[in-house]
Amino acid sequence: MKDNSKLLNFTKGLWKENPILVTMLGLCPTLAITYKVENALGMGLAVLFVLVMSNLIISLIRHIVPDEIRIPIFIVVIATFVSIVEMVMEAFVPDLFERMSLFISLIVVNCIILGRAEAFASKHNWLDSILDALGMALGFTLVLIVISLIREVLGTGSITIWGNLAINFNKNNSPFFSNFFVSPPAAFIILGLILAGSKAINAAKAAREVKSK
């Protein structure tokens, strides 16, 4: 019984409470960086690190933090880890960092992290908090990857990861793969379509469940 609920903690972040699709948090970086799959991977990793570490620390100190000042303390913890991520990225992947520097800094105020800290980590033990963080971060990353796959393929016809052309669909340089899809309007449109799709799937599931009852 206990094991099942722990697993549930992890998987709920993937679909049922997916931060982007359900609670619609963290849309700003979603829209801004998903023009390259590489960005999505980088951002996903950064958020994973920050989320797991901050959830862990916050759940560890949750008993000694008084209610009145919990928000500043959460922010200090989160900001520390974001700064660490920034420094490490700048040293080891300068190119990626240059592209996304602003949005890495914005992870501090990414609602996903503060939201999970407030809603979950400050009320559960460290193991549950870590599982929750993993699930949420994975869910976030998965959606990011899906969106950036669509945008990069439709926009440039190929997927380039770390300088190496991974897959090329556009061998003939067809004008169908237009730049439009890596531009911001397309981000909104594709995110909207994905949100609509996920809600449609959920609605169909619910309808089927009602029918079977």
């Binding site: 004008p175 169908f176 237009s178 730049n179 439009f180 899809f181 309007p185 449109i189």
Partner: protein, 555 residues
């Protein structure tokens, strides 16, 4: 007692009469009828005529205009069909009959150029129908004009497929660019250029390059009259829209020297998609305000926005964007206007109208100001420089355009005066200063003092552009150099000039003056110090300048 008739219909709930013959369906039918002459004209101009004139031999090219319209219509129809089928809609065909799905596709085909690839049209029609109409709830619920949504998508995403394809086979050989492109690039001279290529009547009829079916202002007027007679649209929007653009372009024309010439404005309003947009797109009942006052405000804003986009941005065609932009504000405008009609407070009405009026004027003025001619700088080239030996100032001569302009600067290279007042502006001074900086004097006489029988000249010379000046103080008595001291601190050597020099050779500043005084009648014989040739030469150059000056004084 007659019962109330509840009409179950789709928005717009426009009731022309109790007659069953009227209603939304009839309006749309009339709309399509009004489009027919334009489609036929497009076919004749872009398809039949080139074929007849033997500019193209392909039957596909000839049929292309018709094919584009048909494909556009079919695509948008199919999009709606598929959408409703996927949604599990019952009685799909029934729904489609009242939804008029083909219209966005037809309109889109008409405003895209002749050479648009079919797949681009298809994508545009799908995008426009889906995102412009279906996601909002289908016919009657859309905020934006679906044809324009598709148009914007296609022109943004596939610009490379649109831009080069405007010309039909006949125009390929004769025309350079579409009139709108010419007008967009050159406000002042664009109009005469166009008018020299096409007489005004041709532009009015529409026999000029442009998109598929939008060029003919004449046929749009005919359609306008038809639609007004059939009470499909209200006169306010098209008339006020076009009138606003007319007035604003007249003002622009006046600024550019066409004050008395209506032709300028007429060329502008007859070119491009203005008439087509004003008659068919802006008037769509679902996306434009319902109240008459609202229509007026809507049309005013459309006019100023179109002019703004045409002049202030790189878009040659402002119509699509301004209509889409105003579509966002339809509801607000309607509420505003309707509220004003029943407002008890007169003051509120006046204030609101004043604000609206100010906005309109402000945007219009901003758009117009873009077309006011700006100062054009002529090209400035350096001609010569000479030192004025009376004042010791520097005199530079530049050629500006055709004229020679003399600029006088002090020894600090700061401009003191410019001989020609028309070129004495900040911009030109900047340019002069830039060129002066590149042509500094390599040697000049800094000052002259007379002490009794002695004339003391301070001469500055330097080797090349980056170096500092070397100051030589030369004393003349009775026409002969009697003393020479040199200050070479500015040279950035320290004591070892280059590796060929040794201490034993001596410093130029100690040795050369003696040699100069000894050989002043034949300076070429002065031996430079080995290993410090250039520094020595600078000092000799100073002596030359001084002697030349003294000799000029004697004359």
């Amino acid at each position: 007692m007659s019962t109330q008739n509840f009409v179950l219909d789709k928005a717009p709930y426009i009731r022309k009469a109790d007659n069953k013959g009227y209603g939304t369906a009839v309006m749309m039918r009339d709309f399509l009828i009004a489009l027919l002459p334009l489609i036929l004209f497009a076919w004749v101009k872009n398809g039949l005529l080139p074929y007849i004139n033997m500019d193209t031999f392909s039957i596909w090219d000839m049929l292309r205009p018709l094919l584009l319209v048909i494909i556009g219509a079919a695509t948008s129809y199919l999009t709606e069909l598929v959408f409703y089928l996927l949604r599990g809609e019952k009685k799909v065909f029934r729904k489609l009959m009242v939804s008029f799905p083909a219209i966005p596709g037809i309109l889109l085909a008409m405003i895209l150029p002749y050479g648009t690839p079919y797949w681009v049209l298809v994508l545009g029609a799908i995008f426009g129908t889906f995102f412009g109409k279906l996601v909002f709830g289908g016919f009657g619920n859309n905020i934006f004009n679906p044809a324009l949504v598709g148009y914007i998508f296609v022109t943004t995403a596939f610009t490379s497929q649109i831009l080069p394809n405007y010309l039909n086979p006949s125009e390929y050989f004769t025309a350079g660019a579409t009139p709108m492109a010419t007008l967009g690039s050159d406000f002042a001279n664009g109009v005469p250029t166009i008018l020299s290529d096409y007489p005004l009547w041709k532009i009015f009829v529409g026999l000029v390059p442009g998109a598929l079916a939008e060029t003919s202002a004449l046929l749009c007027l005919v359609a306008l009259v038809y639609l007004l007679v059939r009470k499909v649209i209200n006169w306010r929007i098209p008339v006020i829209y076009i009138a606003t653009v007319f007035v604003l372009t007249y003002v622009i024309g006046a600024f550019n020297g066409y004050a008395a010439d209506i032709k300028y404005s007429l060329t502008y309003i007859f070119s491009g998609a203005l008439f087509f947009g004003a008659v068919f797109m802006a008037t769509e009942p679902v996306t434009s305000p319902r109240s008459p006052n609202g229509k007026v405000i809507y049309a005013l804003f459309l006019g100023v926005l179109t002019v703004l986009f045409r002049y202030r941005s790189s878009m040659p065609e402002g119509v699509a964007t301004s209509i889409l932009l105003m579509n966002c504000f339809t509801v607000i405008v309607d509420r505003l206007a309707a509220g004003l009609r029943v407002a008890a407070n007169k003051k509120k009405v006046i204030v609101t109208y004043a604000v609206v009026g100010l906005l309109v004027l402000g945007i219009g003025a901003y758009g117009v100001s873009a077309a006011v001619p700006k100062e054009v700088m002529e090209e400035v080239t350096y001609k010569e420089q000479v030192q004025d030996l009376d004042t010791f100032d520097f005199q530079y001569t530049f050629t500006v355009g055709e004229k020679d302009v003399t600029v006088i600067t002090g020894q600090d290279y700061q401009i003191k005066s410019v001989s020609d007042a028309t070129y004495d502006t900040d911009k030109y001074r900047e340019k002069f200063a830039e060129l002066i900086g590149k042509h500094k004097f390599s040697g000049y006489i800094a000052s002259k003092t007379v002490e009794g029988a002695d004339t003391i000249l301070v001469v500055k010379t330097k080797r090349s552009a980056g170096r500092e000046y070397v100051t030589s103080t030369i004393t003349f008595t009775a026409g002969q150099i009697t003393a020479f001291t040199a200050d070479t601190a500015g040279e950035d050597y320290n004591d070892s000039y280059n590796e060929g020099w040794q201490e034993a050779n001596g410093h130029p500043k100690d040795i050369i003056p003696g040699r100069i005084i000894a050989n002043q009648d034949d300076l070429d014989a002065v031996q430079p110090v080995t290993g410090a040739t250039d520094t020595s030469n600078i000092l000799i150059q100073a002596a030359r300048l001084a002697i030349a000056y003294m000799e000029a004084q004697d004359e």
